[in-house]
């Protein structure tokens, strides 16, 4: 053999899958990821010329220190948790519903219709009930249409639900600029709801917070202990297995998306009736997308979602506070939130994989190539 063989170094770094990480260690990694994020975020704050410790402290103060602050924080967390719960059954089924945003808006529009035009006809509690039902039905319809297309013709649900967001938000803008515009103004704005159409408060926050906490428990039991929850898990794992087991996969897909859409629609109702008292194009405000992060970080566990959504609400409210207190631009606060979210998601990589660096002792072998 007269071929000249090349000498190769071992690769500097390799990635190997792991499945053996104990749960405790996994949580340590997740906590470390947040710590790392805070350190990186601190460097960003430092580069803007502020003291990271006082900025972080201010974030906490701004979101938790006073009752008003806490009320505001909870108001952010409620729809976030509700929507995360809404998309959970769909995600468990591996139906990528990224249309919660639109389903919230559909529910909000339907609820607003009754709030704006029926408040004189219907008595208070009945009006609220009608608004709730309208929101649920509208959200359900907006969620089930992509599911029907998926079940009958295999249409990609991700693109479908995404596009549906733009349609319904566009429709809201039309209402706001035309038919539903506040009387006597030219500025495109919808009138504030009558008192009768506003949700009552418990401990300073609209009752929606109790509703989503109850829903958290219900969703946990639904997924874990019911026949329908079992069907969702099997369909999500393998459609072929579901068929083999005699499940009607189309029915499961459609039913689950109705549930997902109905909950999103109710969240829409909670926002307009409990928090904003009006409807505008920012009613859904990206909640449908942030909720995906919440659901994912919580690994689809409803109880963990309570903490994740609370954490994100604190971040969100806190970054508002530092904007005013430190004159930190809104974009920088956004960067901070982004860093923390990225690190939390990135931490999952280290839970699932490990890195192996080049062996030190390889260089000691007689013919192991040149010294590093």
């Amino acid at each position: 053999m007269d071929k000249a063989y090349k000498h190769h170094e071992e690769p500097l770094m390799r990635i190997t899958a792991r499945s053996d990480m104990p749960a405790g260690k996994a949580w340590i990694i997740r906590v470390l990821a947040i710590v790392f994020a805070l350190v990186v975020g601190g460097l960003v704050i430092l580069s803007l010329g502020h003291n990271p410790f006082s900025v972080y402290a201010d974030m906490l103060r701004g979101s938790l220190a006073t009752k008003t602050a806490r009320v505001e924080t909870v108001k952010i967390a409620v729809p976030l948790l509700g929507t995360a719960l809404a998309i959970t059954p769909a995600f468990k089924m591996k139906f990528w519903n990224i249309g919660a945003e639109g389903q919230i808006m559909a529910g909000a529009i339907a609820a607003s219709y009754f709030a704006l035009y029926w408040y004189k006809v219907l008595p208070g509690p009945l009006l609220i009930l009608v608004m709730l039902i309208a929101g649920a039905v509208a959200g359900g319809i907006w969620g089930v249409i992509p599911a029907i297309f998926k079940a009958k013709w295999g249409v990609n649900e991700t693109l479908f639900t995404l596009m549906f967001n733009y349609i319904i938000i566009g429709f809201e803008k039309y209402l706001q600029n035309g038919p539903w515009i506040k009387e006597g103004t030219t500025y495109p704005k919808i009138d504030m709801f009558d008192q009768a159409a506003r949700l009552p408060k418990v401990l300073g926050v609209h009752v929606g917070w109790i509703a989503v906490l109850v829903l958290t428990v219900v969703m946990f039991f639904y997924l874990k202990y019911t026949k329908q929850g079992y069907e969702i898990s099997v369909v999500g794992e393998s459609v072929r297995t579901a068929q083999y087991a005699g499940m009607n996969v189309k029915k499961v897909i459609i039913r689950t998306m109705i549930i997902s859409g109905v909950i999103s629609g109710i969240v829409g109702f909670l926002i307009v009736s409990g928090a904003d008292y009006t409807l505008n194009e920012n009613t859904s405000g990206g909640i449908g997308f942030t909720a995906i992060s919440v659901a994912w970080l919580a690994r689809l566990n409803p109880f963990v979602m309570i903490f994740i959504s609370a954490f994100l609400a604190i971040l969100s409210k806190g970054s508002n506070t530092i904007q005013t207190d430190f004159k930190i631009p809104a974009s920088a606060a956004g960067v901070l939130t982004g860093i923390i979210l990225l690190c939390m998601l990135g931490g999952e990589f280290f839970v699932n994989y490990k890195l192996i660096f080049r062996h030190k002792k390889h260089a000691e072998l007689p013919k192991g190539g040149e010294e590093a």
Binding site: K3, H7, Y225, G229
Partner: protein
Amino acid sequence: MEHEIAISLEGICKSFGSVKANHDISLDIRRGEVLALLGENGSGKTTLMNILSGIYFPDEGRITVNGEEVTIRSPKEAFELGIGMIHQHYKLVEVLTAAENITLGLKGGLTVKRRELVNDIRALTERYGFELDPTKKIYDMSVSEKQTVEIIKVLYRGADILILDEPTAVLTPQETEKLFAILHNMRDDGKAIVIITHKLNEVMSVSDRVAILRKGEAVATVNTAETDAQTLTDLMVGRKVSLEIERPEVDFEQTDFLKVVDLTCIGAEGHKALDSVSFTLRSGEIMGVAGIAGSGQRELCEAIAGLYPVQGGAILCRSETSSGEVRENIVGMSPTEIIKKGVAMAFVPEDRLGMGLVASMDMIDNMMLKSYKRGKGPFVDRKTPRAMAEQIKDELEVMTPCVTMPVRRLSGGNVQKVLVGREIASSPKVLVVAYPVRGLDINSSYTIYDLLNQQKKKGVAVMFIGEDLDVLMALCDRIMVLCGGRVAGIVDPREVTKDEIGLMMAGERRDEEVG
């Protein structure tokens, strides 16, 4: 005979998580020799060869090629060292010709000198005795021809150390013999050949030396001429095992349980995956189904189970309302409807974790896969399935720390025990099993044969889709041979030879090529 050492492996270790796939393996691969790498599934054969071909990187150990220590980081670097691997799954571009596939990705100018290329390939095929038309498109080829293309591709690129991973799995006995003749030609030409396999008769007929792996360790290397199948099995398993498969006789009167009449199904490519298939399945028998891969086996069992659309024909069963007669036509019914009709049928599909079980769920949740709807109310009952899971775990000796372990964490044999156990627990009258021992170690395989025989003795009608003709011929009462979706014949395994079945498996395929 002494041969020049092509590759020398020393102390190779490779772990995946907590699994030691290879542990301290040392092995020599010599020129002018066919080395068989024998081991049960999961013994680390493929991992070891993937390390050689640059797909995995070893955690520890040294590789010496032609006397020089090397580091192989990618398949490309393996190629530079003259190592070529032929994988189980072929990587060919269907719309290109054999010659085009062979040159694909090679360095060179913008143009391909087709005539020269074809001549080069012809020279190679003649030298070793391949049968291949370099201008034929891949999609027109049989599996055996595709394999030939893969081998020539590797040779054309100058490989002189060839590794073949389970090359005979998809071949008929005749095609296997041809391949072995070619391997011997290449060996005589001075190439080093490694063949990965778990079939003993093949080891005996093709190899010069056998290296036996067990649980990631190299337990022995012996000269083929100085050993026999029983010794190799004992080495492979680690203790004495019996290679006898029982075929018990039943003493009751056998009645018809399932009648399939002129069953026709259309495959994914629009061809007839099943073409007028007719047969009767009787109680107390195991009917084997033989055929090369893709002859309609999958469609047949899925059609019977209500999972594959049927174009024509009938599948007649006994049901609760048919008063013992075989007249309930289940064509067009979903699995749920079949169950509702009271047809006691169980199906062990080929794809265990992708169809028969839910990989991420534990034994309990997998037990209730077909029965979760039982009981009133919206909640599932996990008590009954838990008891069933515990029972199957004890009776079939499923190796798992507890029944709440996700089944994907179990080994292949244990996964199959869970699946077969569940299906048998439903007290079926008709039991369809597809490739029930694929990927299983010898011990688990024999457990499965025993279970099937028990069912047969109970009077169940068993249909066994298999790939190992030796097993089919030892276990089954009758064998139906499928070829290109048609029944080539139903034979008594006691009265035919393996070669005769092999010819039936291949016979009609030639017809198909003409038509």
